[in-house]
Structures are given as C-alpha cells and as structure tokens.
Symmetry: D2
Subunit: 341 residues, 4 copies
C-alpha cells in the first residue's frame, strides 16, 4: 500500500526528531516559557520581519483556530470564511462551540474574493444579525490553491475599509510559499494579516503550529486563552525545539519544496496519462478526476481520500505529497494508475 492520504502519515523529519532527542534530558520550566520557545519565536519574528509580533506555539490546527477566533471576537461577532474553509466543515463545529457564527461564502476554488467579503458585511446591517469582524482564509487552501500577492492586497484593503481583522490559517503554509507561481512571502503575511499561523503538523513536525499575532489589539492575554482552550502544553519546550530546528536553517521551506516537487511530478504524470483535475492546484494536494472504476481499483493499491462525485461516471480523489514522499512512490503510483486506467 502506497500512502498519498495526507501529509501527516509519518512521525517527524529526521532533523526535527534529532533536535527532540538531543534536548530530551535538559530541564526547563514548563508551558512554553523556556529558552527553546524564546529562540524559536525570535527566529520566526525575524523571518516574518516583525520584531514586534507575538509568537505562541500550539499543538494543532483546530485548536489554534478556535483559540484565536474566540480570543479575537466578542460574543456577537462572526467570522467570514470561504464555505470550503477548514473551520466551516472539518472542525466539528469548534468555532460555533466557542459561540461564534461562521458566515460561509460559496466558492469553487476555496478562495474568498474581496467582493464576497463586502457582500457579507453589507448584508449584516443591524443588531438582529451577527456582526462580521474577522475574515478567515487558508493558504494553501483546502483545495490546494494559493492566493497571489495581488489577491491578498485586495482582501487586506476590503478588511481595512470595513474594520475587519484578517486571519490566515497556514496549516499548509510551507507548501503554499514554495509553490510554483507563488509570489507571497512570510514578510507579506507579516505586513498584511492581523494574525496568521505557521503550520508544523503537516510539514514535518510531530505536531505544532506557531501563531503570529501582529495587531496590537489582538495580543492581550492570549496565553490565558491558550490555557483555557486546553492548548498550553506542559512540556511546551517540545514546540520550541521543533520550530527552532525548522527555522534556524531553511528546513521549514525546504520540506515544503520537496512536497511540491513530488506533487509536480505526480501532477504532470497524471496529466500525461490523460486525466484532468477538479481544480488547478500548484501545491501538495492534487484532486484528479478519475473514472469511478479506476478510483475503486486504485484504493486497493494506494491509501487516499475521496473528494466527491463529479458526474455519474467520474469522481475526484485527493493525493497528498509531503516532506517524506519518496520519488519512488510517485513513480510507483503513476505506474499503478497507468496499469489500472
């Protein structure tokens, strides 16, 4: 069985694991106030170009999203999200469980457009409705697409015009920032968002996400919220150690680059075999459209997720590459598709 199911099928990248092993016996104080976390935060601040940013480390993506949004919003305020957004669909109502409505805007490519943000704001016009206050986007998105710098600038503009915070979920940020055609940098996110998180779980760490809070108004007491939502890891140093290892060299982005190289190889191969894709995604998630019969047979050879039916005879499935994907597995998968197709 070849695994193209997701980018968290293994443990950690060897360099990350080594850092954990090397530091295992060191004694530190708990809850992320240790020197590893401090150094990792400094490295990230430097890379983001915002020495004034607050950096906190959390364990997972859902946890980070619910902690951040529940901290940023008053009870009647809501978050605008593409309908395909992770918080809308795949977090078991975690955001609503903290009391907030998600205003879901329909999309075909999982990316929200500035005019949709404006539409949502104008619709919610009085106290009988929730008040939109945060715009949530993901990069890369749940469909593997990415935002261009121009798109981010336009979204920032509409957010500023209507007094909205812009929050970016970077669960797969490494793949986004190193994707072919991407023109967005960490510095751009430091400049354009009010807060965003840098994903580790889906990019070679055992677990861990680093949230960077840039807007002064969103910083106060954030550690209280982390603790209350169950995210303040006793051995918080585990997060610092991993992020330090990923950011003191180019490792964080290099893991994304590898995933993208494998995705490109697979994408080109599938295209050469004559198959199309549900959406044009330049990152490590691919959504080929296969005849149902082929998809059925494939599932005996390869572990992947189903995306959904496209028409009566075809459906889309999802292949994910990662920092750990060997080129050999890609070639094997292409062979299998060729033989079964």
């Amino acid at each position: 069985m070849i695994f193209f199911r997701n980018d968290y099928s293994e443990g950690a990248h060897p360099a990350i694991l080594d850092a954990l092993i090397t530091t295992n016996d060191h004694q530190t104080i708990g809850y992320g106030e240790d020197e590893y976390c401090r150094e990792a935060a400094d490295l990230i601040r430097r890379r983001v170009g915002r020495p004034d940013g607050d950096v906190h480390f959390l364990v997972g993506g859902t946890q980070t999203n619910m902690t951040a949004l529940s901290s940023f919003l008053r009870p009647h305020e809501a978050v605008i999200s593409p309908a395909r957004g992770h918080i809308c669909v795949h977090e078991t109502g975690a955001i609503e469980a903290t009391g907030h409505k998600i205003i879901a805007m329909p999309t075909t490519d999982a990316k929200i457009r500035p005019e949709q943000i404006e539409e949502a704001v104008l619709f919610h016009c009085d106290e009988h409705m929730v008040k939109p206050k945060v715009v949530y986007i993901t990069d890369s998105t749940e469909l593997g697409t990415i935002y261009s710098l121009k798109e981010l600038l336009e979204i920032r503009e509409v957010c500023s015009r209507y007094g909205l915070y812009l929050y970016l979920d970077g669960a797969r940020l490494a793949s986004a920032l190193t994707a072919p055609g991407n023109d967005v940098t960490l510095e751009d996110l430091g400049r354009l968002t009010d807060a965003f998180y840098i994903g580790g779980t889906k990019n070679g760490m055992l677990f861990g996400e680093a949230i960077v809070i840039l807007n002064e108004r969103l910083k106060e007491d954030f550690r209280y919220l982390i603790k209350q939502k169950g995210g303040l890891l006793a051995k918080g140093r585990l997060l610092g150690v991993q992020f330090k290892a990923a950011f003191e060299t180019d490792l964080y982005l290099e893991m994304g680059r590898h995933a993208n190289r494998m995705a490109t190889l697979l994408r080109d191969g599938i295209r050469d075999l004559g198959y199309d894709f549900l959406v044009d995604s330049p990152t490590n998630q691919l959504f080929p459209v296969f005849p149902n019969e082929l998809a059925d047979k494939l599932s005996n050879e390869c572990s992947f997720e189903e995306e959904g039916p496209v028409d009566a005879a075809h459906r889309s499935i999802r292949f994910v590459t990662s920092w750990a994907t060997p080129e050999e597995d890609v070639r094997k998968l292409l062979d299998v598709i060729r033989q079964l197709g």
Copy 2:
C-alpha cells in the same frame, strides 16, 4: 540549579523516546485510528479489567477534563469538586468556558468527603439552581494526598444514590497507585468510576492522557467531542506509541514508584532536619513548611513552586519528584537545606 519544580521538566523516559524513534518512519492513518493506539487501548483495558471500556488518548489534562465534562453534562448540569481541584483553580475557567458551573466544596487536604457530595446535592433543590451531575476527584490530589479504597467506595455509594457520575482525574495516577499505604488498583477504578484518565504527561511521556470511559451512557460520540475541543491529534499514533511502551511492560507504574522513592528519601530527610509539612502526602509532591528566610535563600539553589504563607514567619513550598529525579539531586537538595537552615 536543582529542579524540584514539577514532574514535567524533561522530555520523555528513554524507553518512551525509543518507541517514538523506532516507529517514526512507519506510515499510519491519522487521528488515533492506527494500530499503535488500538494496541495501547487493549493493554489498558486489560490492566483495568474492563474489556468493555472505551479508551481515548488526548494530549493534556485540562483538555481531557474539559472534553470529558462537556461531553458528560447537559447545559444546566454542574460538577462537584473539592475547592482545591485542578478544574476549580488552575484551568483558567476551562470548564465554565464550556458552560458549566463547578460546585466547589472546601477541604484542607484536597479530598472531597461523601457527606459533602450529599450536601451539595441536597442544597441544589430546584430549577433556579444548577443540577449536580458529576463528581470530580483527583488521585493523587493537588496536595499529594491519596484516596483509600474505603473512601472511594463511600464516594461511589453516594454517587450511585443520587445518580451522579464519578470522574477521576489521574494526572498523577502512577504516583498515587504506587504510593506507600495505597490500597487502590487500576481494577478498582475500572469498577468504581464512570470514567477516569491515566496521566502520561506527568509520568514520563512527552505528553498524553488516556481516558477510560466505563459507563455505557457516557460513551456515545466521544470522538466528536475530542475533535471539537481541539484534542484530536493528527498524528494520533504518537499517543498510542507512548502508552503502548508504558503499558506493555510495568514501565508506567515503575516510573511512579521511582518518583515515590525519591519523595520518600526527601520527605524523611526534611523531617530529620526538623521541618514539618503542610499536609501529609505520601506521593511525589511534598509541601514542607519553611521559615521565610530559608525559603528565600533556597530559591537561589533550587527551582520549586510556592504554595503560600502559613503564618507571618513561615511559608509552604512545593517539591516535586519524578521518574527522572536522580537520587543525587535529592541528597544535594537536603544538603542545601541543611546548610541554609
């Protein structure tokens, strides 16, 4: 600086770390549905003597408590807890944040008594007040004390009489179950509680708590709650791997035994030096009462937590031993106390 600050100052026990290293490259499906989690759950069920129990793995204690209690309670239902309980004081209102009142009963030793449970139930007599539904206890407690089997039986009886669930927080269960004088076993907990959790974070794992749900009425859809509260680890196998390593041998209890041996050495030494304790605790948390001057000086040599003033001239501090405490450190600490005292 010697560390007696807590039992999570290091990484993992070498055997736990080895298990993580050995399994690092294996590919598994995510979210705790892998074979390691299955095996670890089986081991725990066997040890608890309840093949019908549901076992889930979570990352930390606050997360486990808030997930469990929010799953077990309807909106108007409340949890009865000793006032010193971790959920009352040190979880930043995590339980209230899920909507539930904690009915805090005063204690001197952090242990609730059956008649206090009855008192709380009888006081809350109509729909203008919350309805008590769960009793929360910890073993060992926040003051290092433990429940005897007789005490647990009495608490179980009053819970059954009033239709209350009994939930036990076992963040430091290893130390409790292996403490001098303890007569409670994992099988007893499997028989007497409706749910309890086995703590890993404070007993040699990188992180991780295993909740065991015994009451059939509390089992449904628990994984939904874990996900919603941000606790469903993508690489869930990390929890399975660690608990498997701890439970396929006697390692889990052995780590507790070591912590207790070091605590006994320290306790006896402090007593021999003529100091008393705030409370009589047979486990890995000790609360000596020192003259303020001694406590002040000690803080330059040893990392520990303050408990609070006892009178104008004395205060209590907390020493914690762990699986990782070397006997040498205990002797060093006793020497320092002797010299400074």
Copy 3:
C-alpha cells in the same frame, strides 16, 4: 403614516388585555407554576390532542428557539435549517452562542425539502464534522409560505429514518393554520413534530410563546434550561393569563383569520393593480415587487420593511397584516399605491 411593518406594532388584543386587567390583583406564586399557566397548558394540550405533551411558556421567539435547541442538542450536534430560517439570519447568532452549528440549506421559498435533509445528513459522515440532530422549520415561513400536510409527512419520514428531531417554529402559526389552502392542524403538529411552539407575540398578545414538547426524550429538566437562558418570567402568570384567554375560545385562530383576510384583500388589490410578488404567500406576509421609484415614494406614506432588490429597477418590500389591521387601512394603502404607481 399607515403601518404594515409587522404584526407587533400594537399592544394586545382587547380580550387579552382584559384578561390581564381582570387578574391583575390576584396573588399567585411565581415562575409559571400558577393556576393560569396550568389551565392554559391544559387547553393547549387538548387542542393539540396530546394529553402527554409538556407545555412551557416563554417570552419571545429567539429565546424559545435558543432554549429549545440548546436543550435538545449535545455539544457536537447541529440543527438543519432552511438558509432563510429565522435562527440562521435574524437571531444575532443566538444558536451558535449556545455552541451549535446551523447547517443552512438554500431555498427560494424558505421551505426545506426532505431530500435536502437527507443530503445534509449524508454529507456529515464522521467525527470531523458536526452531527445533524434537529431539523428546524417555520410555519408560516419567513417568506409567508406554508407547509402542506404532505410535505410535513415527508419531512417527518426522513427525520425518523435518520434519527432526527423535528422542531417547528410557530411564531406565525395562527396565520399559517388559517391560511387559504392550508391543510395542517394543531393535531397534525402534535403528531408529527417532536416539539413546536405556538406564537403569541405576533398574534395579538403582549408577548409570549408556548412550546409544546412531545418527544419524551426532550422533556427532562426543560425548566432548568428556561431559567438558565433568562426566560423564566417572575410573573409567569402573565403568560398563562394570555394563552388561557386566547385558547379558551377560538380567539387564537380567529386573530390569524383576520390577519389573513386583510392580507387577501391587500394581495388581490395589488395584483389587480398589475404588480407581481416575490413569492406566492397565502398568509399575512406579502412581498410585492415594485419599481424602485414607487417603493421610495410609498415609504413616505406607509411604514414597511425592505426585502431586497429583484433587478436594477425593481425591489421587493414586505407588507404585514395582523389581528389589528383595519380594513380601512388596507383600502387606504391600495389607494396610495394606485396613486403613486
């Protein structure tokens, strides 16, 4: 200025007000445990044909919806609603504020269809998503449309098939049940829903909604929830007195009939003047489509709400009739439209 803005522009129907005056000096115990509430509940149970039903009185619609849904749902469970549903749009996120996601299904007439319920259930397939548990419908709907008995039977069937509760918001139930073409009765609701509420605020009372809980599993401790959500009126008798007055004669339905007669007069008149409607609504809410210019001028003569643009030159507005609408006002409004049109 003529008022067709809503059905709560005045105080109470004279007979309701008289009942309040007559009983004003009687001393009763509080919180709805008085004899007026008991009698009113009995009257309603009889009319619904369900002597086993629980009847509770609340002050307003949003309060009733949020109390009911937060009582019926576990934290990870969600409510399926037409996207136009009152809980989706006009309750400032009250349902989400109690922790629950609303799964909004698109409609043109504010009525959900059985296949949409099935679609929502099948989509939410695992613990990474919320679990649909209640279907929320309104009758008459936010667009003035009504469900036929056949439609209700089909919705009931799909609910039963998937273990969903059916909850009906009857804020404008009087108008629905007495609308031309309606074939649904209170007994049908008693038979087909798990709970529903009979609206008083929008049908001649000062305020008040009567929720009828039919499913045994939803009854427990409902008064606790009312109290917790701020809905347990100290002088609860005010609700009993009003509902008793409305239900000891035919008054409740007769008020709906009057509103519908006035609506029919207005609808026919507008149609005769050559205007069309956004949707075909047989109840007391009408949504005529007017040229923008006409709508603008009308707003100087008549108080109404805007529904929204239909095309560049036209928009829809909302006229609402009520138990209090004099025939004279309808004729006056038609005259004004004729003159301005």
Copy 4:
C-alpha cells in the same frame, strides 16, 4: 392565605397598568426603538445625573445579568461576587453558561468587602487562572441588607486600583434607596458604578429592568448582546411605557417606600413578640428566626419562603413586603404569629 412570599405575586401597580392600557392601540416600531423607550431612557438619565449614560430595557434580572456580564467580559475573565449573590446561586448557572467563572467570596450579610475584592485579585496571578474583571454586587442584597455610601466608595476605589468594572444588580433597588438609614442615591450609582440596573419586576411593574451603562468601554454593540441572549422584546414599548410611568413622577421610589413602611411595621411587630432576625435588614426582606414548630404552623396561614436551619430547634424564614402589601395583611400576620407562637 396571606402572601409574604415575594414582591412579584401580583400584576402591576394600577398606574403602571393604566399606562399600558392607555397606550395599547398606539402603533410603534418594535424592539425598543419607539418613543416611549426614548422618553423613559431620558427620564432615567436625568435622575441618574448622567446625560451620557446608555439606557437599555430588558425583561428580567437573570437575563440582564447574563447579557451584561457576557458583554463586559472576554472569555478568560471572571466576575467576583459575594457567595450569596443571585448570579452565584439562583440563576441556574446562567453566567457560567455564557462561559465565565464566578469567583464567590464568603459573607454573612451578602455584602462583599473591599479587602475581599483585593484578595480575589491577588490570588489570581497568572494565565493558569481566570482573570477577575468585574465586581458584582446587589443592592439591596439577597439578605435585605444595603451598602452605605462609604462602603460603595471603598469598593469603587479598589475596583479602580485593579482595573475592575463595578456592576450593581438593582433588582430591589427601590427598596434599597428608600430604606431607613440609606445614604445612597441614584446619582451616586451613576457616579460610582460602571453599569447598574434598576429593577422593575420586583417593584410594581409587570416585568422589566433598566440597565444603565456608564463606562464608555462597555457601551459598544450592547443591543446585539440583548438580541443574542433572547432579551430584545418585539413589543419593546411595553418596557418604555412602564418605566416612563414609574419615572415621570416619584412613583418608582414611592413604591419602594411603601414596601419599606410595611416591612418596618412587620419587623417591629415581630421584634416586640420577642423574636430575633438572621440578619439586620432595613429593606423589604425580613429573615425572622422562629422555632421550627411555629414556622411549620405558620405555613398553613401564610405563603413564604424558607431560608434555612439556624440550630436544631430554630430556622429562619423569609417575609417579603411590596408596593402592594396592605397594612391590614401585616397586622393579620402579626396576629397569627402571636396566636401560634
């Protein structure tokens, strides 16, 4: 049966009822944006001496408390309250249901002392605990006691020193402000609190509480919160009409004065008969201590609430007078006590 059970056993004071009758047919816009509410708010602002204050009308006390506190607090912030406070005990966990912990401080007279506020603040010292942010007091208290101006000034001082908001629950404010010995005025509350509410339900209205928000930082979007918590009455004018009637003359305070006069008569009579009181309360709630036998017999003649046992042979019960209590009933009750005693 004579009623001394509470101050909401009847409907409304005749003058309040008249105002409702007179205005019944007037058509107004909904949700408290009508002219009656505007005029009532103006009257209150003038009486409070704060033309800049925001005034909102809600239906009941629990609703007002939970709306205010959930609006004023961020998720990790808590409210300090006397343990006897209404929000602690008699609101079915309504505050916790909005996510906030109540820090309950023990008292014998239901009044919090400044040093207790300081103690609560100093104890909660880091992000592992909730952060105290609001002090909640009631006047008159749940035991009928009142705060002196000096006490309020001291509480204000400690609140200002620690950045806490002061919120006063005035469910029985009329009785407090007109009690023998009281030296606090509405202007004092306008000057010393950040927000407080003027109770109507327990002082002659059908229902209704007027919250006055004085601190600029607490004003934003409060109507959203009212709507979300189910408190935005469709016929909001009912609240305006009643408060206008109570405040355009001296009626509001006069009703309190009457209740207090009747209480004084009853208090003196009971004392003359040789009985003592649980607490010295100058307002309309009295807590006499009776032999159990007397209390038992009394319950056949008079409707009252039990307070609780004082010793094995005695218990305290509660008598409440109101705007509606006839002097004759007081004399009758005293006669009964004399005969049964």
